[in-house]
């Protein structure tokens, strides 16, 4: 696979992944995750093990499934009404190992409409991806929000 094809393929993959989140198709989004997914949103400090320096989120597949179940639960207070979101993904840089594993980094700008306000969350996303059974799966998604040292109100899935 040429670099160009890989880039195009992963770009499309990440666009679709973010669209699933914005369209609230969370069950389908779970389907894009590898069994050993690490979903990681660092807190103020970024250099160090999650259990050493703290995090905003550090979750495995079980945790993410529970998160989706909570999000879709009728009585979840933070979903009254559900926030409306749109992820903007730019500055994509892709590298592959030629053997079914790849790394993608991008800038992220997330807009969230909730609580009668519009919030914006700029940051950087880093994906580790693996080809499993002919399709790409996410084995790590790490989102560095530039406001991760500031007080934040409720965040949706990034």
């Amino acid at each position: 696979m040429t670099d160009h094809t890989l880039r195009e393929e992963l770009e499309q993959f990440v666009y679709q992944e973010n669209n699933l989140l914005d369209d609230r198709r969370f069950e389908e989004w779970l389907g894009l995750l590898a069994d050993d997914i690490v979903y990681w949103v660092p807190n103020a400090m970024e250099d160090g093990a999650p259990g050493e320096i703290g995090v905003i989120v550090y979750e495995n597949l079980t945790g993410l499934k529970a998160r989706v179940a909570r999000t879709l639960h009728q009585l979840n207070p933070a979903q009254k009404p559900p926030p409306r979101t749109r992820h903007f993904v730019t500055n994509i840089v892709v590298s592959g190992d030629g053997n079914g594993a790849a790394h993608l980094s991008s800038n992220l700008l997330l807009y969230v409409s909730r609580d009668q306000q519009l919030f914006q969350y700029p940051g950087k996303s880093e994906y580790r991806l693996r080809k499993i059974g002919g399709g790409w799966r996410i084995s790590q998604k790490k989102i560095h929000l530039i406001s991760n040292n500031l007080p934040l109100s409720q965040l949706p899935l990034l």
Partner: protein, 448 residues
């Protein structure tokens, strides 16, 4: 300004007027009379372990520096240059050989003393005292590394203010094999609501199973799959705990009736158990490992032993509040234990967590709802069962109530009216009628 007599009317025995949450003038008074007067938690010494280590923060509205000086002493200094008033420390955390004001270059030792003034020889009428420097907060004292400051030069000592609270802080620290906790960087949230809503919420077991039903149901289902435990039902969710207040607005909850088997909790680590048994003997070690209490130190410190963190309330406006949660390590405990505690804390309190976000949402709903001027009174009428004074002089009762919130408002009223502190022992006026009839029906429910 609101007169003292009106604070007597706004806060009554079991109800509080909506203005207490919504009136900017009352908020201004709170900043002066509560945060500008009583002992306020400002940080933990473990945040600044080495000489020169500092963190910046605010005390009420005033910028402060918590710094460990070259002499290893921890001080709380106002973050304002004696020349023109600029801040002199700019990072959240750092290590400094000196503080240098970047505006005109005045420098200060890490002890706060003035060190250098550019062009000093050309200053006129400038003959500062030898101890001239960054202004220290009038009073600073610490207990087990928890640093408190008071802007009032007189008043009860910290130990008098904490009273029995000191014992509960000790319990939290005693769970570390080395006898100390270490606070790491805070996870910060904010909400559109008054600061007292979070303070009340932490003293409120009434809301938990209802507001957090979605989180509890999903959580119980995961545990059921993993451990074969019971699913969530409202009946299972009836909490069996003891609530206490011990004066000065402070209170605590001991979830003694809800302790699960130790093998399920974060402290179930054989190596840790061994260290604790060696230090304390088997009985006290077991008790410390199982300890599950919420501790409230009025007005701004909330501690959580099960997940080993504390939260600090930071009011920023009448309808705006920040909650900074500090995950803590138990010094000397195996790394596994601390890792689990830190991740559990994040999953509980962060802006993407599973529990605290529900509360933040509710605070916003309340703040909006209290704009209705015809909604005069907020009610705190739920009473505890078997209210009595225990052997330590604490007022104690069983199961869910709004007693602790009422107790917070006794202190709020005292501070706002400007009455002298009485120390932290509950006074008769706070204890109130203790011989409530014990209903057999409610007792039965409590034991379920």
């Amino acid at each position: 300004m609101t007169g003292n007599s009106s604070y007597d009317q706004l806060v009554q025995e079991d109800r509080v007027h909506r203005r207490v949450y919504a009136d900017p003038q009352i908020y201004d008074d709170e900043m002066r009379r509560i945060f500008g007067r009583t002992w306020v938690f400002v940080g933990h010494e473990s945040e600044v372990p080495e000489p020169g280590d500092f963190k910046t923060d605010t005390l009420g509205r005033r910028p402060i520096i918590l710094v460990r000086g070259e002499d290893r002493k921890v001080r709380v200094l106002y973050n304002t240059c004696r020349h023109r008033g600029s801040k002199v420390a700019y990072e959240d955390y750092g290590n400094a050989e000196q503080f240098r004001c970047l505006y005109h270059g005045w420098t200060y030792e890490t002890t706060g003393m003035l060190k250098g003034v550019p062009l000093r020889e050309r200053f006129r009428n400038f003959d500062p005292e030898p101890d001239f420097g960054l202004i220290p907060v009038p009073r600073t004292q610490s207990h087990r590394g928890f640093v408190f400051a008071s802007l009032s030069r007189e008043g009860p000592s910290l130990e008098e203010h904490l009273g029995r609270g000191a014992y509960y802080l000790d319990q939290m620290c005693d769970r570390a094999p080395d006898g100390a906790i270490e606070a790491i960087r805070p996870i910060k949230c904010d909400y559109r609501g008054n600061w007292k809503l979070q303070l009340e919420n932490y003293a409120d077991n009434y809301h938990a199973a209802i507001l957090h039903q979605s989180a509890f149901e999903v959580g119980a289902k995961m545990q059921q799959e993993k451990f074969g435990t019971r699913p969530f039902t409202m009946r299972n969710a009836v909490s069996k705990h003891i609530e206490r207040n011990y004066g000065a607005g402070h209170s605590m909850v001991d979830y003694v009736g809800n302790r699960g088997p130790l093998w399920m909790n974060a402290y179930a680590n054989p190596e840790y158990l061994k260290l604790m048994q060696a230090k304390y003997g088997p009985e006290r070690a077991q008790d410390l490992l199982e300890l599950d209490v919420h501790i409230m130190i009025y007005p701004n410190l909330l501690l959580h032993t099960r997940m080993n963190h504390y939260r600090v309330l930071r009011p920023t406006a009448v309808d705006r509040t920040e909650v900074w949660s500090y995950p803590c390590k138990l010094k000397g405990a195996p790394r596994d234990v601390n890792d689990t505690l830190i991740l559990n804390t994040a999953h509980h309190v962060s802006s993407m967590g599973e529990v605290q976000v529900d509360d933040l949402q509710a605070f916003t709903w309340v703040q909006d709802g209290l704009q209705v001027e015809d909604m005069d009174w907020v009610l705190f009428k739920l009473v505890g069962e078997n209210v009595h004074v225990n052997e330590h002089g604490e007022r104690e009762w069983h199961n869910t109530s709004e007693e602790m919130i009422r107790h917070e408002y006794v202190e709020w009223r005292r501070l706002m009216v400007g009455e002298k502190a009485q120390g932290s022992r509950p006074r008769q006026a706070e204890i109130g009628p203790i011989a409530r009839p014990r209903s057999s029906a409610t007792q039965k429910e409590g034991r379920r």
